[in-house]
Structures are given as structure tokens and as C-alpha cells.
Symmetry: C4
Subunit: 371 residues, 4 copies
């Protein structure tokens, strides 16, 4: 484990280890994958402005998310079918989050069930990512089970009337391996996802089952069946952020779905400021995912207003490399990089990471021009 | 056909299949080919801003162009000598457009005649692309034949007093293959294009025959001989757009001629907003071509004000790969990518694709700087 | 000759033909060669905005420079020691300019004398590039001989108190080949340039002989010894342009000396607008050199206010490839590319190439953002 | 030595010569090394605006720093453990600075002691770089010894509560070679730095010994024990610059610690103008380091307000190549490049290098757009 020093190291190792069907599924973005690249590149346009001599003997990474303490502002984003990466899949991932004191988000389309995850990692702060199915009874059942199993929030994905075009999955005719199942469902809904046409089996599944008629009013329905706070995931516009909150959301997760839905949407770090600004008069939290691979990425997102940052692919790479230990390694890399960043940037606690701590490169160009 | 998932796939296959003379003719841009590259790259500077939870159960791609229904906002741009790509050339291309319910534009310099195309694809919405020859009788004859054959518009190319410098054609001493002819002409005008000097045979042809003295007043002459609406193709300036409309044009096709006329002109997606703005007080439609290879490119052009988008080279790639079926595959790729884009962007019908749906990357940089 | 279609073709051929000492001397820029690259790249940031249907039957490239007719707005810039490229060196170069009806500028540091060039190309419009030597009698002698030999202007280089650092020349210990001499001088001044230390022989020569104490007042001295108009070459700042004119210059040649003097200075096309603006209330012409390799580069410089464009390296590449015929080929490439550009851009004569014909890419980005 | 013409030449030679442990330590930046690259690239965005004909016969590079004459505005920045590069390490480096008439800065973490350096290079202007240790007696002892040994300033590093993450050092488990010691310390503090865990031995050392509780008030303590002026090194924000001066600093050294502390901080040349502006009403000097490899880099930093520029890695490359002679070669390359720059830019003395001599590229784009 010692040889993995960066998230990039874990990614490279995982890419080499995973079978093609799973590897391509995890790493692909939509169509030309321009936004996939931009999700990372956009961070480079932000500069950190460190403060000196502030006294950093007592630094710490703790923060509070939806009223719950977490040990660091990096949690696990929902990703589907984690047993393709490792036999223990979601269980290992959740246990790693538990061991590290952070949040684990379980996907609707998981290869371990709500109850299995709750049993495996009873103390972790668990959130449940929800897709709303045409069959509302199916959907209600998922929510009630999550609530019963101790999940603390519903992360409602709002950017997915259908899954985006991921060309590698089409080429591979993506199929869930024979020995796995969608563990949150019974009968035909848990049927192994496999391609019956010339495309991806997953897209066929989603196309036939997800509710494409959803509107903001449906959050009201969701609130009518659960007391859990609703985190609205997939927002990329300020007007949608306001709609999400006014419809009853408790928090916004700024996300472009790992650049997997629609190529050409902005890298998430570019839209974060607009969203934070839009909801500043509401008492809600804003979270972030997309392209985060280093501690300084996390720092930049926090400086622009994110309360919590989630990572999806990095957890899959850790999982593929070494199960729970691999995910913990990944989280520890973020923890270490953040600890260094907090000390060197002169922001010993998370609340010290104010807007003033980052500046867009174009602002620097203007300063050089003017002075 | 199943292995072609993107327009890029078709392009790569076509490039491998075509003989050098045709391949180079189709793919070249003017001189250094900077604008050729920019036509594609400029799309990347535009971000799509998807809306969530708008209810997209009933999405569709239909739109109306010059009063005619089309099944999708992607039509076939005029390109010369299509039988170099496939024995059925223009006929296959027109049949594909017919099968897909969209527009086919026949080039003046076609290797199938107006009447052959009309016979092959009687139900397609056909437009006729016109070059005005020094010999006005020749020109009038083309227009009258097109009108008689059921073509619905004249697409008057206004950017071509002569053909641009395409170095590969000069190197190849471009010659129309022996077995082909310019089918819209008799006698010497249909003579096989071949090089008599050190340059491209096509440039010699155009130089000797096209009317370089054309001015905006000549649109009046064109209107005097036909009732068909005139689409003015090749506009890159707002003042020219106004002139085109005031001279009697019914619509503007923003185009830099596939970057084949003059290197260094702007990528077309950059000039589209200026043209749309310039003619907004006229009751005219604006169309677009240039560098379009994905559904998100089409979406961006529509968001910036294009009523219809045309593709030239993609049809040639499809044609080269598999005749009518190849062109249909190409159109189906666009259709699929657009269907996904409409749903995920939250714009279930074409009219929902408003300006607000895209933003230039530099606007995002400013937002990050300010907030 | 037929196989050379672009200036780039000639450059590649020349690079392959020339011996290292000459090749490196001709192609090098100062130190890291950043400005050398930027001289070309900066042109790409400018977009040409072609006008349609203006009637271009009667286009022509003729213009007037310092009252003299020239057949095209592309002339030959001064470059040193042209016999390193071809045995006929400056003579072949001047004859090519003569045959093409444009301007030839002879360098002070030529391998053919003022009188030899005048005899070889009696009808060409000849200008004499002047370095002012510590020995004013030597300098005066050069000016008087040029005037007597029918040269029509003195091109005073003002950016060269010493030659820039060109690392390849240092590595090569640049030496003028044994059989050549600096033909404008007698005795020790014509002594073959060779390295006596660890550096370039040319730098040693220049360091010891050029007058580093020169100020704008010295133009008055130059005017006192000749009636020829003085073209001030090497200006990169608006304040210097004004100084040059007020000191008695008749024209400004915006130049960064082929990026050979100081790395990090702006590409010349970037500074041209500032210079043109600065001298607009004076009755003077502004010329341009730097990175020009295509007809569209020439067009852009004219649109930004240049009355004439000069090319240095392209003439050397032509010379190396085939003497006078090679230089003529180079000029013919520019002529052809300009003829196409004028017609397609809708500017049938040089005076039609107004500022409005080009726009910086950043202006387009702003337009896309706003509309 | 003759074959080294640029700093880049020395770097390449040194990289080839050094053992991996030392080479990686010297060349690494923090984590992803984005800022490491930007430190160089950012210089390219600045254009030099040379003045012509100002008379440069009497140019010179002399300047005054903290009241001391130096022969050129390029001094030696502190770098740790120089004997890893050459057996004579700091001694050779200091002797080179002495021979060249510039400043040598000795690191706290040196492999030669304060007294050894003072004995080896008695006449050089020596500054002592200070890290403040938890043990204030240790720290006081260093300062008093430096003052006694004739050092002229304390360069207090304020950006290092701990050392940044340099991945290569972790991979190498960086260890000070057996035969070397931290010569400024006795006992356990001079113990050979070696890795006891999975990380870098140096980071362990720094983490355990440096005072992380430091605040601006501690400068007062430092002033209470020494009369030497305090140069505050590591400032990247205007507010910190003011704090540093108001806390008692005599000068600011703008530095991002060679991009080794925190990746994503701005390249230093971007922040220099902000710092200079912030302290303009105080009577203090501003110095600069970061990414400087050419004479034009030095020129740009001076134009933006730096009184003196320091180079760290270039001295290590020279040292590795040839000890004192190599460092002198490096300084001579800077001297030569600066001499050329001063003459060609038309700024014969350092004080002539005003703000007006540089302009950001984006300002040029605006000028091209407007005029």
C-alpha cells in the first residue's frame, strides 16, 4: 500500500487491474469526454493564496454536514455496481468511510443492498442516492428501507432522465457480470443488466425504468414519504438551485455526474460560485463533486463555498486496488494532502478557508496589467 | 454498421477507404487549415447549461424550416462531386435524407443531375445550391430546372468568386475521375475537370466560369427568374447579413464553406451570434454549418440562434463507408445524440433551446472571479 | 519549382539544403526563441472578416510606397550575408524583386556591394539598410554610395546597439565562410567575420564597430548628409514611433528584427496597431515585418495599418532553394495567396483592406458572451 | 565550461550527473508540480517593450540592496544541503557569489556551517536564511552566530510551518547521505536526516522541529535578539506583505519556495505587482525568486518592482556541474544575458527598468481589439 502516494497512483494501478467492461464503465465520460478533461483542468485556473505566520499548531479537518460531525470534508460519492471493482464492493467502501469518519453514499444501482451496507458499516454516516422509478411503489420502498436502515439523507439525482452516451459502454455492450445483481431490487428489476441490442445494457435498463416525467413538484411527493433531508444532486445552474431549495431540498450537490451525462456542460468547479451565490439567502448547504483528485482541489472547492466534497472514481480505484484498505488509503491521501494544505495555506480549520483564499488566474492577469 | 458509434468513427473509416484524390478534396481546408481546426475547437469554448427536472417524457426533434416540417434540425449541406465517394453519390445521399425526413441540398457541381436526384428521392425536401456562372443563360437554366424538379429553395453561395487554395488539390493536380461528369451541364461545362497546369483542375474550372463581378443587386435578377426562396450561404459579417436580406434573401446560412475558402476567417460558431443579432428585426431564418460533428454541436448552434444546422463532410464520410445506409447511419448518430441532449439538457423540444442554454467559457471565468 | 506550393515548402527544402553555419544563422531567434514562435502564432489570434458579393472582377495588388509604385505590398527585408544561401546572394534576390516589381532592401552587412546590386538590378526599387558605425566617415560613405547608386531610401535600424544572443551561432562559433566578404567595406571592416573567442564571430564584429551611443538626435546628422527619406526600422513602442518621426523619419518599419534581438519582446503584429495609432496625425507610412509566411498574414498586417510588408527569411529560403528563381517563386506564392485573399475577402484593391476587415479572437469571445 | 551557453544547458548536465536522491530533491515541486511549471510559463505572458536609440555606451548592472553595492541584480537564493551537489557545497557557492560580487544566502539546513562559509568567502555579502525552531535557544544561537560571522541580513522564511509534499522524496525515502551533516547544529539536530517511516526523512525532521505556532508577533522576538535587518521570505499576498513590514521586516522576498510548498499557489511573477503596490508607501525593498532562468526573466521581475532577484536551482545546477566554477558560469550567463537585455531594451542602468518596460500579453490583445 506504501507505494501509492497519490490518487493518480491508485488510478493507474486500478486501470491496470480492472477487466475492460468495468474499467471502461468507471472511467468513461459522455461522448467526446471534453468535460471529463475539463473537470480536472478547470481546477488549474484557480490559484491558492496562502497566508503566512498565522499559527497552525492546532489545525484540524473536522466539519459538520447536515448537523453531523465528519472527520474531514471529503466523502464518498455514489457510484453504481461497486462489486465490479472488488468482491466486497459497497461493503468495503462503506467500511472505509466508517473507519475514516466520513460519509458514505450508497447508489440505488448498487450491487449490495441497503440492509447489507447498514449491517456492514453500522456507524458510518450513510446517505442513500435515489433514482425515481416509473413505479413509485418501487421508489417509495427504497426510501423507506433506507430510512429504516439508518441512512441520514436522500441524495436525489436530478440530472438523469436517462443515462448519457458513454461510447465505450456501447462498444463493450456493457453487461453486469453474471455473478452480480442489483441488490436493492427483487425480480426483474434486479435482473442482471445486459445488452439486448447494439448498445449498453445499462442504458436500456435506465431508459425503460426511470421516470422521465419528473418535475420539481415531485420533491414534494418525496418529502411526503420521508422525514430525511433531501440533497439535490446534479445542479449546474443558479435558477435550478433556487428551484431545488424552494421545492424542499435541504442541500445542493453541485455535480455534472462525473461528466458522464452530457459532454459540453461546464466543469463543476466553474459553476460552484454561481450556485453558492444563488442560495446564499437560504439556510442550506452546498456540496461538490467532479474531477477532485488532490487535497488542493478540495481546498479550492471549499474556498468557493462547498461545505463538503465528494469523490467517486477515487474510491473505485482504491476499491479495485485493495478493497477497504484501498479506499482508506485513498481517503488518507486526501487527509494528508489536506493537512499539509491547511497548514501551509494558513487556514488551520475548515471555516478559515474563505473566498479570499483563491483567485482565478484571469484576475491575476488583470492585476499584472493594471499595477 | 453497428461499429460506427460516432461521426468520428465514420470519418476514420472513410479516410481509410477513399482514394487520395477524393479524400484530400473532401477533407482539405484553405492553405494552412487553421480555421479548419478552429471550426471544431470553437465549439469547446461554449458550455451547455442543462436544466433539471423539467419533465422530458415527450421530447421531439421536429422543427420547421422555410415552412416545411423536418424530423430533426440536421440537414445535408451541399458538397461537390459526391460520386467520388460512392457510385450512387448524390442519389444515395438524397435518399438517406428522404428516409430520415430531413433536407438534402444538391450542389451545382454535382455528379448527378437535378432531375436524377429528383427522381431518386421524390419526397425529400430538396434545396439547390447555386453558383452563378458568367453565362447567365446557363445559370437561369439551372434555376428553372431545379424549380421544375420540385426543389424548394435556392441556396445561393456568396463566398466564392473563386475557389480557395487547397494545397492538397494542387499537389494532386485534382482531376474528376474519368468515369464521372458534372451532371448538371452539357458540353464543355460538363467536361471532366482536370488540371492543365500546375494547379488544381477544379480551381481552373471555377476561375474560368464563375461570375466574379457579382454584387448584391444580382439577387434581384435571381428573384426575377424564380419564385423559390433564396437562402444566402456564406455570410460571416453582420453587415453582409443585412445586405443579403435587404437584397431579397429569405434566409441566411452562416458558413465559412467548410473552412475551404480563406484561412483565418472565424470559426462559424463564433460569428453566428453576430448574424442572428443583426437580422433579428427581419422575419428571416438563420442556418448554420461548419465543424459540426456531435449532437451537442448542433444544440449549441441552435441555442445561439440557428434554425437548422447542415453537415457536409459527415455525409461524405457516411457515403464513402456505405452509400445511403452510411449517410443514414450518420444522421441517426446525430439524431440519437440530439435526443439524449434534449432530454438531459431539459429542453424537450427544439424551441426550448434558448440562448440561456449556452454560455461562453470566458463568462464562467468572470463569474468565478467575481463571486 | 512546381512542387513548392507554400513558403513552408520552401523553408523545409532550404533547411535541408543549407550548411549548418548558415542555416542556424538564418533561422535562429534570440535566446529561448519564444518571440520567434509568437511572431507566427500571434497572427492566428486575428480573424479575417470577408465581405461577400462586392464584385471582384478587377482586383489588383498594386500600391504606392514612399511615392513609388510597387506591384504588390510584399517586399524584401534586409538580411545579412545572402551569399551564404546562394552564390549569387544579394544579386539574385534583388533581381527577383526587380522581376516581380517590388522593393529590395540591401543590408549593410551584405556579401555583395551597393554598386554590384545596383548594376545587377538597375530597375528595382532599392532601399539601403543602414547600421551606424562608430566611424562616422565609414557610415557617411555608405549612405553617399547608396544615394549615388540609385537607392531610394535609407532604412535605419534602430534596435541594434549590438546583436542579440543567438545560441546556435555561439555553439557554431559563427564564421563567414572563407570565400565571402562584407562587400560594402574595405580593409579590416570587410575582413571575414570569424570567432576569436568562445562566441559568435558576428557578435564580436558588431560589438566592436557599431555605435552604441546613438540617440534620436543622430537622425538629424543622417539627414544632413542625404536627401533620401529615412525609414526607421525596429520600432516596438508608440512613444518611440513619435520620436522617430519628430526626429525626421519619413516612415516607420515595425519590426522586432525577426525576433533575433531580444527574446520576450512582443510579436510584431501585436504592436502594429499601437504604432499606427500613435503616428496617425503625422503624414507618414508604417511598414511591417515579422513572422509573415502567408498571404493572409500580409492581409492582416495591412488591415491593421501597414502600408507595406517585408519578408526576410522567406527570401533566404527561396534563394537557398534556387537563387533568383527561388525568390521569385516565394514572391509568386505571396502574390497568388494575396490575389485569392483579396477576391475572397471582398477587397479588390489594397486600399479596401480597412481595419474593419480583421478582428481579434477575444472580440469574438466577447460577442459570443454578450449576444 | 564553454559548452554551457544557457542555464538550461547547466540544468540538463546537472540532471544527468546527480544521483537520484539529490536530483529529485532539488528539482521537485509540491504534489502535481503545476505551480512548478507555471513559475516559468508565467514569464512568457509578459512582453518587454524595448526603447530604441537611448545611447547605451555606458550601461551597467550595479545596484544597491539593503545599502550594499552588488555587481548585478541576481543573487543566490538559499537552498538546503548543497554538498549533495558537490563536495564543496555551500563553500563553493558562496565563493562564486563573492567572485561575482553578488549576494549569497546560506540556508539554516546547510551542509556547511555559518562559520565555515564565513571563512571560505569572507568578502561576499552573506545573508542567513532562518527557520525558527521550537527550541528558541537553538534559533537564537543561529542568529547570533550569523551576526557574529558577518552575515548582513536574516532571511526569515515564513511559508514553512512544515515542508510541502514532494512525491519523489517520499518515493526515495529521502535521506541525507551518510557522509554529510546539518552543519549548523550539534547533536541530534545535526543527525543525518533519514526516513524512519514510509515518507521523506526531511519532512519528518521538519515536522518535529519547526515551530508551527509562529505568528507575525514573533518577528518582534527576532528583532529583540539581533540588529540585522530581516528579509521576510515567502510572501504571496498583499495583506501579508503589509503585516510583514508592520511587524518589523525590512524587506519582502516574494517567493513560493520554488513551488515546493503548496501546489496551486500562483507563479511568483504574477503576485509581484500586488506586493509592490501594497508596500509602496513603506520604505522597503521587494525581492523576488521563482522560475528565473534567463536574463529577460530577471528584467521582467525588476520592471515589475523587484530590487533584487534570487536564483536557487540554477546555482545547484552550476554547483553539480563544476563547483565554484559552475556557479560562476551560471552567474556569468545571467550577467551576459542581462547586459544584452539592458542594451537592447534601452535601459542602460537598473533604475531605468521601469514598469513601462513590460506589458502583460492580455493588454496587447486589448490594444489590438480596440484600435
Amino acid at each position: 500500500m506504501e507505494k501509492y502516494i497519490s490518487v493518480k497512483d491508485l488510478e493507474e494501478a486500478a486501470i491496470a487491474l480492472l477487466p475492460q467492461n468495468a474499467r471502461d464503465y468507471y472511467k468513461s465520460g459522455a461522448t467526446e469526454e471534453f468535460t471529463l478533461k475539463e473537470n480536472k483542468v478547470a481546477f488549474q485556473r484557480l490559484r491558492i493564496r496562502p497566508k503566512c505566520l498565522v499559527g497552525v499548531l492546532n489545525y484540524n479537518l473536522r466539519t459538520k454536514v447536515l448537523g453531523q460531525d465528519v472527520s474531514m470534508p471529503v466523502g464518498i460519492a455514489p457510484t453504481a455496481m461497486q462489486r465490479m471493482a472488488h468482491p466486497e464492493g459497497e461493503l468495503a467502501n462503506a467500511r472505509a468511510a466508517e473507519a475514516m469518519g466520513t460519509i458514505y453514499t450508497l447508489s440505488t444501482i448498487a450491487t449490495s443492498s441497503i440492509e447489507e451496507v447498514a449491517a456492514a458499516a453500522p456507524k458510518v454516516t450513510k446517505w442513500f442516492q435515489l433514482y425515481i422509478y416509473n413505479d413509485r411503489e418501487v421508489t417509495r420502498n427504497l426510501v423507506l428501507r433506507a430510512e429504516k436502515a439508518g441512512f441520514k439523507a436522500i441524495v436525489l439525482t436530478v440530472d438523469t432522465p436517462l443515462f448519457g452516451i458513454r461510447r465505450a459502454d456501447i462498444r463493450n455492450k456493457f453487461t453486469l457480470p453474471e455473478h452480480l445483481r442489483l441488490a436493492n431490487f427483487d425480480g426483474y428489476l434486479s435482473t442482471k443488466i445486459h445488452s439486448t441490442s447494439e448498445g449498453s445494457g445499462l442504458n436500456e435498463y435506465v431508459n425503460s425504468l426511470f421516470d422521465k416525467s419528473l418535475t420539481w413538484g415531485d420533491i414534494q411527493w418525496l418529502k411526503s414519504i420521508t422525514k430525511l433531508p433531501i440533497v439535490v444532486k446534479g445542479i449546474l445552474r443558479s435558477d435550478d438551485a433556487v428551484k431545488a431549495i424552494e421545492a424542499g431540498g435541504s442541500a445542493i450537490l453541485v455535480s455534472n455526474h462525473g461528466a458522464r451525462q452530457l459532454d459540453g456542460v461546464p466543469p463543476t468547479i466553474e459553476v460552484l460560485p454561481e450556485i453558492v451565490e444563488a442560495v446564499k439567502n437560504y439556510n442550506v448547504e452546498v456540496y461538490f463533486d467532479g474531477g477532485v483528485t488532490t487535497g488542493t482541489d478540495v481546498f479550492k472547492a471549499i474556498a468557493l463555498g462547498a461545505k463538503m466534497v465528494f469523490v467517486g472514481r477515487p474510491a473505485l480505484w482504491g476499491l479495485a486496488v485493495s478493497g477497504q484498505a484501498g479506499v482508506m488509503k485513498m481517503l488518507n491521501i486526501f487527509r494528508t494532502e489536506l493537512e499539509y494544505t491547511l497548514q501551509i495555506a494558513g487556514t488551520p480549520s475548515i471555516k478559515d478557508i474563505t473566498k479570499d483564499m483563491v483567485r482565478h488566474e484571469s484576475e491575476y492577469y488583470k492585476l499584472v496589467s493594471k499595477i
